[in-house]
């Protein structure tokens, strides 16, 4: 293969330097600094004292933090399955050239992804609130008067917002995977007498496993970081601060001023997210190049 640049050794670093400088300042330094302060404890106005890993021990025994992680674990299992299942069905539909209105569906399902999640939160929050909700009249026909913002339904109401926001995004990931399958495979399967369903079952699904894993991993990362939707809804109804880990960490840092403990929890959250993502990658036999 014809070579790349052979200019001086420093040239690549000239091109890399703007990124590397900012990366060091706003990625590497905060991570190191976050870890550093997580090893201290601050009592009132006194200077911080070194406490080693005490904040981490505390994180693993803090009922609020653990409950937030468990809540999001449950959220991921239920909402993640529904969302990726729907995304897969939609992707299969728009991938099949015999289907009608593919362009329309692709656009319409994907559009919520363009909206800031805070704005989606406000919009759905308004639509959930009794006085503004279009659903009250719809459900009222059946004699139902649901309260979408009650403590019992909040979990499901937030799932609905997150699903609305992200189905289209996952659909596009899976659709891109489907589009990269060589069309000749379908032709030869058809000649062998395969029906549409067989093509999906034996060709499409096995070949988009990498895209599926990618979608699942993105969902894991996204779910454990949920913040905006419950934060926005806090002004409309009671949302427990340990609904999501990020809400809990944010409250610990900015309402209670305990940055040290918050930093430790943020790192634990990063590790939990990383571990679950890795499990899915291993599970699918994903290999690094």
């Amino acid at each position: 293969m014809r070579t790349k640049f052979r200019s001086g050794k420093y040239m690549p670093f000239v091109f890399l330097s703007p990124f590397l400088v900012l990366f060091a300042l706003f990625y590497v330094a905060p991570l190191i600094y976050g870890f550093y302060i997580s090893l201290f404890h601050k009592y009132g106005l006194r200077p911080p004292t070194f406490v080693g890993l005490e904040n981490y021990v505390k994180a693993f025994t803090d009922s609020g933090f653990l409950s937030s992680i468990l809540t999001m674990g449950e959220f991921f299992l239920i909402q993640g399955s529904i969302m990726i299942g729907l995304a897969l069905l939609f992707a299969l539909y728009i991938d099949n050239e015999q289907n009608h209105f593919r362009g329309f569906f692709k656009l319409v399902y994907y559009i919520p992804f363009a909206i800031p999640t805070v704005i989606s939160g406000i919009l759905w929050g308004f639509m959930y609130s009794k006085s503004l909700s279009p659903f009250q009249s719809i459900f009222g026909v059946f004699g139902l008067h649901p309260n979408f913002l009650s403590s019992g339904s909040l979990f499901w109401s937030i799932m609905n917002i997150v699903t609305w926001e992200w189905v289209g995004y996952n659909m596009i990931i899976l659709y891109s995977g489907l589009q990269s399958i060589p069309r000749e495979l379908y032709e030869s399967a058809k000649i062998d007498g395969a029906r549409n369903f067989d093509v999906i079952r034996y060709i499409k699904l096995p070949l988009i496993v990498p895209s599926l894993i990618l979608a699942i991993v993105f969902t894991v990362i996204g779910t454990f970081q949920i913040f905006n939707e419950p934060y926005v809804l806090q002004s409309m109804t009671y949302v427990s601060t340990h609904f999501t880990p990020n809400l809990y960490i944010y409250t610990t840092a900015f309402s209670y001023g305990n940055f040290n403990f918050a930093a430790a929890m943020a790192i634990v959250l990063a590790l939990v997210t990383f571990a679950i993502s890795m499990i899915f990658m291993r599970f699918a036999g994903f290999k690094e190049e």
């Binding site: 014809r2 990625y27 600094y33 015999q98 329309f104 704005i119 596009i172 002004s235």
Partner: protein, 289 residues
């Protein structure tokens, strides 16, 4: 050809109907906000949430939002443009340079460095934003445009994307040809390279513009002066004032609804007219480079 038959089979019709029902679900919040933006506060609470009513108050809501608190919403709009515009321009150039270095040069530790950068995509934003807040505090940058812009300029994902575009769109043979003509590395990058990867530049520019426009968590943490708010933060603050207080002076719903509409119209337009780039970003991300 039996495609005609399969198009109109009952199962096809049922599936298509379900796809249209799903479309209604995805479009509902948009329709709701368009309807709501034409209503005064009293109409909002007393008329059918899913249909227009007279008198039509779209223009008067626009007037309200443009005068409330000295037209601060337009200031937020301008702020969002400043944040998103400068981050988009900066990130695109920085990522193009870094992607160029990673794809066109060989240097020590190249792969190690690249995989470290790629790995940080998994770091949850809280783990970064918390220490970034403390660092910004130390640098006296809290409540400045820089506090939002600087950390947003670093994006491992856009570096990854640009590397793929450089590998695909810029043949290495061009380098030798240009060197023979006596062109410097910078000339090759700016004059020959950038025009060739313009599709990638557009993708990255759009991606980071929308990301920054939609960002909420970072501004929430580093900005507390209302005249520096981006739209997302400003609208969330308005919503929480209006929904939690019955007192005088709270922004009317008419202003909030109009503000929401103003915040999403540019995104929807960008989404529809530039959807080629939205998708190419995702699909290149989904296929391993």
């Amino acid at each position: 050809m039996d495609t005609k038959k399969s198009l109109y089979s009952p199962s096809t019709l049922i599936i298509m109907t379900l796809m249209f029902v799903a479309s209604a679900y995805f479009l509902l919040p948009f329709f709701w906000i368009i309807v709501a933006s034409t209503k005064s506060d009293s109409q909002l609470f007393s008329t059918n949430p899913l249909w227009f009513t007279s008198p039509f108050n779209f223009l008067s809501n626009l007037k309200v939002v443009s005068s409330y608190d000295n037209a601060i919403l337009w200031r937020w709009f301008l702020n969002s443009l400043i944040y998103a515009g400068s981050v988009s321009a900066g990130t695109t150039l920085i990522s193009a340079m870094a992607g160029f270095a990673f794809s066109k040069y060989d240097f020590k530790l190249k792969n190690v460095l690249f995989y470290i950068i790629l790995g940080t995509i998994m770091v949850p934003t809280t783990a970064l934003v918390l220490p970034i807040y403390l660092l910004m505090h130390g640098l006296n940058l809290i409540n400045t445009y820089w506090a939002v812009i600087l950390p947003s300029l670093v994006n491992p994902f856009t570096v990854y994307l640009m590397r793929i575009f450089w590998m695909k769109e810029f043949p290495n043979e061009l380098i030798d040809a240009a060197h023979v003509d006596g062109a410097s590395d910078f000339a090759i990058f700016f004059r020959i390279g950038l025009p060739l990867v313009r599709g990638g530049l557009a993708t990255v520019a759009l991606f980071s513009f929308v990301n920054t426009w939609n960002n909420f968590f970072l501004p929430l943490v580093v900005i507390s002066k209302s005249n520096l708010y981006p739209l997302t933060l400003g609208l969330q603050v308005w919503t929480s004032i209006t929904t939690t207080s019955v007192g005088r002076g709270a922004p009317p719903y008419g202003a909030i609804n109009m503000g929401i509409l103003i915040s999403i119209v540019p995104l929807i337009l960008a989404f529809i007219f530039l959807r080629r780039y939205w998708q190419s970003g995702l699909s290149s991300g989904a296929i391993k480079g």
